[in-house]
């Protein structure tokens, strides 16, 4: 599957967090003082409500592979745009930036996605002055 399509999907997944979640009590679950960067490979995408989950294999400093769970928004907005779970097969490499869960498990709240070529997609809302994401041509 082409990288461009994957970019759109991932950005879309993360964007949904910003638009939909007025309710989610982030402070109770994730640590604003512990931003985290995860470099790894997609193993599974949970395409579910109320929150989707990206599962990714991440190699730690000790060389061990740990499977991380990264929380996303709900998939309805993506479905409405015509995207499907099958657009997102396992094996894609990427970097997730987010905040570490407070409970000590390998869990994070996903905020941005970056690809190995350095292209960075800030998944904040529109109007923040952040770069607007554009898929690779």
């Amino acid at each position: 599957m082409r990288i461009a399509s994957v970019l759109v999907v991932l950005v879309g997944l993360l964007l949904v967090v910003s638009q939909a979640s007025a309710h989610h009590s982030f402070a109770a679950e994730f640590d604003i003082d512990k931003p985290i960067t995860l470099t790894g490979t997609l193993t599974e995408l949970e395409w579910v409500n109320p929150h989707g989950w990206i599962h990714m294999d991440v190699e730690g400093e000790d060389g061990r592979i740990v499977n991380w769970a990264v929380e996303m928004g709900n998939p309805t907005a993506l479905l409405r745009r015509g995207l499907r779970k099958s657009d997102f097969p396992p094996g894609i490499d990427f970097v997730v930036e987010g905040y570490l869960a407070k409970d000590g498990t390998p869990t994070a709240n996903g905020i941005t996605v970056t690809f190995p070529d350095g292209r960075n997609f800030f998944a904040g809302s529109s109007g923040t002055g952040a770069p607007v994401p554009t898929p690779r041509q």
């Binding site: 967090v17 910003s18 007025a22 579910v48 109320p50 479905l79 809302s125 923040t128």
Partner: protein
């Protein structure tokens, strides 16, 4: 003689015309008055898909969204914080008129939600519970359908629905309590008036622990207004918890085109709160409790 008969005819004619004119809808006289689209029953047609009003209201109907951490994690600019306009229109200070003991309990919940150790500390929305009225109406998009005897409101979030019988039947008995209450509707002119009661006490009016008791009664007013919108108003009463009835109001805009559809949003099947509870228990053990506030704190 002829003149008298003619006068009689004129008088009858005049009375007849006045009667006929009196029976006409008033709108015919006012050339500029806006007329809502109507169903075959002659009532305003509320059918279609509508946005759930102000997006931040479900976080707090007094303060909108959000706390500092939430705002920073979502990179919310000032225009996406708070409420664009007050939701609570009565009392004028825009605050829920809680009784003193209830305000204390709510403050307790504002602490507990930061370090939750049990399910009751977690926003019912994050537990996938039905959100009742009026919260369901400002939590997200809704769909209205009308038949002769029923108005049905469907909510995309967690596939919730409310059935509103319009045939004047009595409410169910007092000992049946439901998350979404029991609703009865009637038309007052062009305004749909819905009375809801038989709520349970399990859910909140927003994420700020704004709880109520099973004596809650809600009177909603739904009015189609110019500009493809619904003006929504809810008067809330609960003698166990509030000092007086109070009212919130907002406008919902129509969404979607001809082909618009809701998608299934299963909730319970995919919900998880274990991370939040584990974190809360760790924090409480470490003696770290804090108040949920939208104020900037020294961090």
């Amino acid at each position: 003689m002829q003149k008298k008969i003619w006068q009689k005819i004129n008088r009858v004619g005049a009375i007849g015309m006045i009667a006929l004119l009196g029976a006409m809808p008033v709108e015919l006289y006012a050339q500029q008055a806006w007329e809502p689209p109507r169903t075959v029953d002659g009532h305003p047609d509320l059918q279609g898909y509508w946005d759930g009003g102000p997006a931040n209201a479900s976080h707090s109907i007094e303060d909108g969204c959000c706390d500092v951490v939430h705002a920073r994690m979502q990179s919310r600019t000032p225009d996406r914080l708070g409420l664009l306009e007050p939701l609570i229109i009565d009392p004028p200070d825009g605050r829920i008129p809680y009784q003193e003991w209830a305000e204390v309990k709510r403050t307790q919940l504002l602490y507990d939600m930061e370090t939750p150790t049990e399910l009751g500390h977690i926003d019912p929305e994050d537990r996938c519970l039905l959100l009742g009225a009026p919260r369901s109406n400002y939590r997200g998009d809704l769909e209205i359908r009308q038949t002769k005897d029923f108005i049905v409101i469907l909510y995309e979030w967690a596939h919730a629905y409310r059935v509103i019988p319009m045939d004047g039947r009595a409410h169910v008995g007092e000992t049946i309590s439901m998350y979404n209450g029991d609703s009865r509707g009637r038309w007052e002119g062009d305004t749909l008036v819905v009375e809801a009661r038989n709520f349970n006490d399990q859910v909140w009016l927003d994420s700020h622990g704004s709880f109520y008791s099973d004596k809650l009664r809600v009177v909603e007013r739904w009015e189609l207004v110019e500009g493809d919108a619904i003006r929504y108003e809810a008067t809330i009463e609960d003698p166990n918890v509030f000092t007086r009835p109070w009212t919130l109001a907002f406008t919902m805009g129509r969404i979607g085109g001809d082909d618009y559809e809701f998608f299934e949003e299963a909730c319970w099947e995919g919900v998880t709160n274990k991370h939040r509870l584990a974190a809360g228990r760790l924090a409480v053990e470490a003696g770290e409790r804090q108040l949920h506030t939208h104020e900037e704190e020294s961090q």
